[in-house]
């Protein structure tokens, strides 16, 4: 009886191996031809199966550490800039007003961009993600023009906030 068991399990093993070879052969051929599978413990990872790892973006300092440093420096710089703008008036020191306007818009743009990256990542939303990213960029350009127009032709951001607060 045990010999029948052994024979049956050997038979099952052969069947399973043949089936695996047959069903995965086209993928193996494709992978070997494309030369883009890597050997990892547990077997080679074939492209296009349930074993695919998450793709990571290419490392780039511009989108990585430089972006991070710029964002923190901008946020830190906003603190003395806001204090200075609150202490002086926009008409007396228009440069501070202009700097504040541009810095605030850049800070807002980076914030909105992180919101998009968190909730509408292009990896998951291949159409909506890039669309809203570019829509945000266009909107920021429009806002920069609007801020410039307002600071030039009108009283400027600091004065507006000061006057509205005491209206």
């Amino acid at each position: 009886m045990s010999s029948a068991l052994v024979a049956r399990s050997a038979f099952n093993r052969n069947v399973a191996a043949a089936l695996a070879r047959k069903s995965l052969r086209p993928l193996v051929l494709q992978a070997r031809g494309a030369a883009d599978y890597s050997y990892v413990p547990g077997g080679p990872i074939h492209r296009g199966t349930v074993n695919d790892p998450t793709p990571f973006p290419t490392p780039s300092k511009t989108h990585g550490s430089y972006h991070w440093a710029f964002e923190r420096l901008l946020s830190a710089g906003l603190v003395p800039l806001t204090v200075a703008a609150a202490a002086t008036s926009g008409t007396a020191y228009p440069i501070i007003d202009g700097l504040l306007g541009v810095s605030l818009v850049m800070h807002s743009h980076i914030g909105f961009d992180s919101i998009l990256v968190d909730y509408l990542h292009p990896r998951k939303y291949p159409i909506l993600g890039p669309f809203f990213t570019w829509a945000l960029r266009a909107t920021t350009v429009g806002v920069l023009v609007g801020v410039y127009q307002f600071n030039t032709n009108d009283i400027g951001l600091t004065e507006l906030i000061a006057k509205t607060w005491h209206a």
């Binding site: 009886m1 349930v50 806001t82 914030g111 909105f112 909107t139 429009g142 801020v147």
Partner: protein
């Protein structure tokens, strides 16, 4: 029996059942005692991928906010994003409105409109604007502290979080009467 001492009777039963004397001659018994396999289905990789995708579509998106315990850490974090986005929407909205219709949204009109509101509405409006600004600024300082390596313990995060909340309350009242 000596085999029952260690693990129980099951191995003994199995041994007795699988001995050729009992099972080889009895076809029904042989199937009963030998067939302990699981039923599996064999899929092609594309069918496997389809099943996996269906499962993934039905899963909730992490973090599952409906069951996550309210905590100062993530409430504070989403409040920071919320206040920042709200203030930025105001800035973007006003700049775009002025760009599109400068005669409607210029400063004189805005100041007139705000000045004509009743006192209560003005105070309410000031609170609605000052509180998010104060919270976002103070929490921003907390974030910058994290970036230079401070407050990165549980105690530090909670202590700085409560300090930010207290500072927000004080700053809002101060800005109200500035």
């Amino acid at each position: 029996m000596h085999s029952t001492r260690a693990v129980g009777l099951a191995p003994a039963f199995r041994q007795a059942a699988l001995r050729p004397r009992n099972v080889a001659r009895n076809a029904a018994l042989r199937n009963l005692f030998v067939k302990r396999s699981i039923q599996t289905e064999s899929f092609t990789p594309s069918a496997e991928q389809q099943i996996l995708n269906q499962q993934r579509l039905s899963r909730p998106l992490s973090p599952v906010l409906s069951i996550y315990q309210p905590q100062l850490t993530w409430y504070g974090s989403i409040a920071n994003r919320f206040t920042g986005a709200g203030l930025s929407f105001l800035l973007y909205g006003h700049a775009l409105a002025y760009l599109v219709a400068p005669t409607v949204f210029d400063s004189t009109h805005i100041i007139e409109l705000v000045g004509s509101l009743p006192e209560v509405v003005k105070y309410a409006g000031k609170i609605i604007l000052a509180a998010p600004f104060a919270y976002h600024s103070l929490n921003g300082l907390r974030h910058l502290g994290w970036d230079i390596g401070r407050f990165l313990t549980l105690k530090g995060a909670y202590a700085s979080g409560y300090a930010v909340l207290a500072g927000t309350a004080v700053s809002t009242i101060a800005l109200l009467f500035v």
